[in-house]
């Protein structure tokens, strides 16, 4: 139903920002991690946001392709424009996780460190705490915006029950 699709869209926004927040938390927590399962220092996690595909629902596609009048010739006119609820807009946002290859890892001279290289340097992850903090604030504001939209949509649904 169209009225609840709005909630779904906002929900995808909330999920995306929450996942981004998880990635940021993991990056900050692992700022000094020099050992990982795959070997080498921790690689920064980044969430890439993608627009969700516009036509995902079978019903929407069926609705778009179904014409109420049969056209037996190419020259026939179409019956009319679709009704408002048949128009299909986007369906929110998707996320994809990427592990960034370090561009400029933090090098610390500490020959006694168990993970030190032969020249005495330790390679720390390429994580900048300031960048993470800024991303965190942006993400939390975006989360709030989505939550506001969600509560507005909820309010509209409640209001329509009072008609």
């Amino acid at each position: 139903m169209q009225i609840f699709d709005t909630l779904d869209i906002s929900a995808t926004g909330l999920t995306a920002q929450r996942r981004k927040m998880t990635a940021i938390a993991s990056n900050i927590a692992n700022v000094d991690t020099t050992r990982t399962d795959e070997g080498g220092p921790y690689k920064r996690r980044r969430m890439v946001m993608l627009e969700a595909p516009k036509l995902t629902k079978f019903s929407a596609m069926l609705e778009q392709n179904r014409s109420r009048l049969t056209r037996t010739q190419g020259g026939h006119m179409l019956e009319g424009e679709p009704r408002p609820d048949e128009i299909f807009t986007g369906s929110g946002v998707m996320t994809q996780e990427v592990r960034e290859e370090p561009i400029k890892p933090r090098m610390v001279y500490d020959p006694n460190h168990p993970d030190a290289r032969e020249d005495g340097y330790v390679v720390f992850p390429d994580v900048n705490v300031v960048t993470e903090m800024v991303d965190m604030i942006a993400s939390s504001r975006a989360y709030e915006a989505n939550a506001t939209v969600l509560s507005a949509a909820k309010d509209m649904i409640n209001r329509s029950l009072e008609i």
Binding site: I3, G13, M49, L50, G80, P84, V93, N146, R159
Partner: protein, 137 residues
Amino acid sequence: MFLDRVVFNKTKIPALNAVLDVTQLRQRVISNNIANVSTAGYRKQDLRFQEYLDSFVKKPAVEGIRTDPRHLPVPMPVSAPTVFEPESGLNDTGLNNVDIDKEMTDLAENHLHFNVGARLLSGGFDGLRKAITGRTA
């Protein structure tokens, strides 16, 4: 149905119905923009709906009577609201052209529009009920 035409279609109810339809759809478009606020390369969407709403209020100069279902309607039905991508070159964030302040304002405005439509619609139904039963509530 004949009763539909006499009782409902001559009141403001169809127009308010369209208002609710449109605000509902607009809410969807706005939520999609806000959900994609941090999507790189996303292009914001908007809804073109004024013509559609006007068609419920403005009476056409000439109205053709259809005595056969195969007749073309005069005037031609106005196109339903369409989703489009506005030509906005503004890209402050370097990510996309979604202006969060504008979207939140549109959201508030749309919310109020919906509430006004819903309130007027309940008023319309109350009036009908009064006319049918001859008493209030």
